[in-house]
Symmetry: C2
Subunit: 413 residues, 2 copies
């Protein structure tokens, strides 16, 4: 089945919002094994929406529209589809009832315009909206399928998950499942070299590598008959990849470096404290963005000035004078200091030059020292020369630190 997404909304053409609906639906359609050939965005204009529909039916079987289901005059997606197909719009009583209940519950007054949100092309399958007032719909017409979805992602996504995926799966004899492997500490080309023979000639499961800002992912996607289990295809391939990449794979699916570190600390009942200079709180912020971080994260300190490195962490004046704030020695004393003053099991320290200013020929922008230690005497200090502008240097340094803690906790190098 070939598909096109038509986003309807002038706000997209003005750049007021980015088309995350198209990205979300693209990922989902790819996982469902549906070939998505086009994204189109068109404004809130009846003629141009109908022309876009006309182009789409000539080139694909499945047309998914997003947006234009609101109560205002500008919202005209259903009207355009009905006109284009020559169908009448008819009121859907259960949707009217649900909408009235929605307004009563919130103590708001329903306006006359709202009722148009319950009008649908005749014969449509109605998709309830668990979050907002605009139901979606599916219209089947002459071997073409029109899926009509609301624009706000928090309305569109549950509707797609709960209603559209089961519908599309019912149209197919196949089932498709994906698993994502998350990889840190290796470049894209090196990874591809390591698994080149596995990547080549894969058809089912497929393997899709993707390079992010500082990490890599491999998505393994398997397709089977409806009654078989795609995981039986994924598992052997995953095992082969794991043999090659080993502990470079830090997690799967929704895992992040910080969530993996918080989980490892939680499982081993260990606590963490962080002393940051050039990352300015970023490591602490990433750790504490994970629910439950408060069980393992005791304290972070951002010692930007020399004075605070001395007072908070017990870095010696001599070290700062002899080696400078950005040095192997200062990073070492910082991590010892944070372990000592907090009593944490595991400590991280970072000191460096994030830029854009502050670099010298000896210590250029991007020079970063990262120390990881535990209270049993483990100590690892790394020197890195990181590329990119300020926030990129900060993010990369934080990721290296988190991955290093993961490795220490797993006893790998």
């Amino acid at each position: 089945m070939n598909a096109e997404i038509i986003g309807v909304g002038t706000e997209l053409l003005l750049g007021q919002i980015v088309n995350t609906d198209a990205q979300y639906l693209s990922q989902k359609l790819s996982q469902l094994g549906i070939n998505l050939f086009y994204h189109t965005v068109v404004g809130d204009n009846m003629e141009r929406v109908k022309q876009a529909l006309s182009i789409a039916v000539d080139r694909v079987d499945l047309i998914i529209t997003t947006g234009g289901l609101g109560p205002t005059m500008d919202d005209l997606t259903k009207e355009a589809i009905a006109e284009f197909l020559g169908l009448k719009l008819v009121a859907h009583q259960p949707s009217i009832d649900a909408m009235e209940a929605f307004f009563v519950k919130r103590g708001r007054t329903i306006s006359k315009n709202n009722y148009k949100q319950a009008d649908f092309p005749e014969g449509a399958i109605i998709l309830p909206n668990s979050v907002g007032t605009a139901p979606g719909a599916i219209v089947e017409y002459n071997d073409k399928i029109f899926v009509i979805l609301p624009g706000p992602p928090r309305e569109l996504q549950p509707m797609f998950e709960n209603h559209v995926i089961p519908y599309l799966e019912s149209k197919s004899d196949e089932k498709i499942v994906s698993k994502v492997l998350k990889i840190y500490g290796i470049g894209e080309s090196v990874m591809e070299e390591k698994i080149q023979d596995i990547l080549a000639n894969q058809s089912n499961p497929t393997i899709a590598p993707l390079a992010g800002d500082s990490e890599l992912t491999l998505r393994i996607t398997a397709k089977t008959a409806r009654n078989d289990d795609p995981l039986t295809l994924i598992q052997p391939l995953e095992n082969r990849i794991r043999e090659r990449l080993g502990d470079l794979i830090y997690g799967v699916d929704g895992d992040t470096l910080e969530s993996v570190v918080v989980n490892l600390l939680t499982r081993s009942s260990k606590t963490l404290a962080v002393a940051e200079s050039c990352t300015g709180g970023l490591i602490a912020q990433r750790i504490t963005s994970i629910p439950g971080a408060s069980n393992v994260f005791i304290e972070g300190t951002i010692t930007y000035s020399n004075q605070s490195k001395i007072e908070r962490l017990g870095v010696t004046k001599k070290t700062l004078n002899d080696y400078g704030a950005v040095s192997y020695e200062t990073a070492t004393e910082m991590v010892k200091g944070i372990l000592h003053t907090t009593g944490a099991d595991v400590g991280i320290s970072i000191t460096g030059i994030a830029g854009p200013r502050g670099g010298t020929p000896d210590k250029p922008v991007g020079l970063v020292y990262i120390a990881i230690a535990d209270k049993n005497g483990y100590m690892k200090v790394q020197e890195h020369n990181l590329l990119g502008e300020r926030t990129r240097v900060q993010q990369t340094a934080a990721s290296i630190a988190l991955d290093s803690v993961r490795r220490m906790l797993l006893n790998i190098n």
Copy 2:
């Protein structure tokens, strides 16, 4: 002039990346007064790219392509445009020279494939790439304009700013300038009420309000003849808006709350220290993301545990026992503590429950105390009940704190 953006890249259709190029270009075209009617995305497929071009030339005058300028077989945007227009691809020697220099500088070997990045449809205007190896191009053909841009935003954006905007401006007798007012501490509907009469019936300049996650912007856009100065139209309108919104306007254009705070501290030669609990380093991270923050930011501390609140900040056991870690009293002692231990001029403390767990009927998720103080005795403690999930609560609390520091430094309430 009417326009369409054609994004070329299978990675967009797989949802591996979101189409930020389309958003960026949409904003810029809107600011230039060019009507953007369509976004299209098509995969790395010669026939489908040519069909998309064929649809586009029938409906717009200006076609901007993004992506598909790399060195691989998959990269075929220039080839498709040349074939579509019946033009030959010819090598551009200055681009070859620049590319060879780029590789030499980085100590990398140039591959044979790279040379195709210097091939362009005959007669094209070449747009140098200041960041990567793929130059862009402009092709004028039968009253239609094709602008060919690389996909990576960090390459596309400077190329558009430095080369395409001047080109498009030269095609127009008009000049368009925008100014953005950045607003914090007020909801969208209240703002619109305050300036309803100004918003109504504006045609030149236009005013476009936009609601972000926790702040608002007003974009004022004026259009004049090429030789006039649009700022003479913008200034009186800006003054009228400032009369209504006053100090709710915290900055203009690229300003952020954190950049404004760093600038105010720098100008008044004051230093800042931050004691965070539920925001977990986010305030420090936002502050230190601003270049030059090291001149004013002395220290941040993330005192997640009660113990660290006691040891680092001198919060008393009695206060923690009597009122709890999330309380007016604890916030007050935290900010006093951070001022005392660091000697900073200005202090911020935050304690709260970011969720999703940790809430109680008395102290629900979203309850946050924010204290701002200076060493001359200024003290303001606020209680907020913030909505949304964990990271939203953290971001909102950080923004309120930064805005409160701004207000203190400006002596406004």
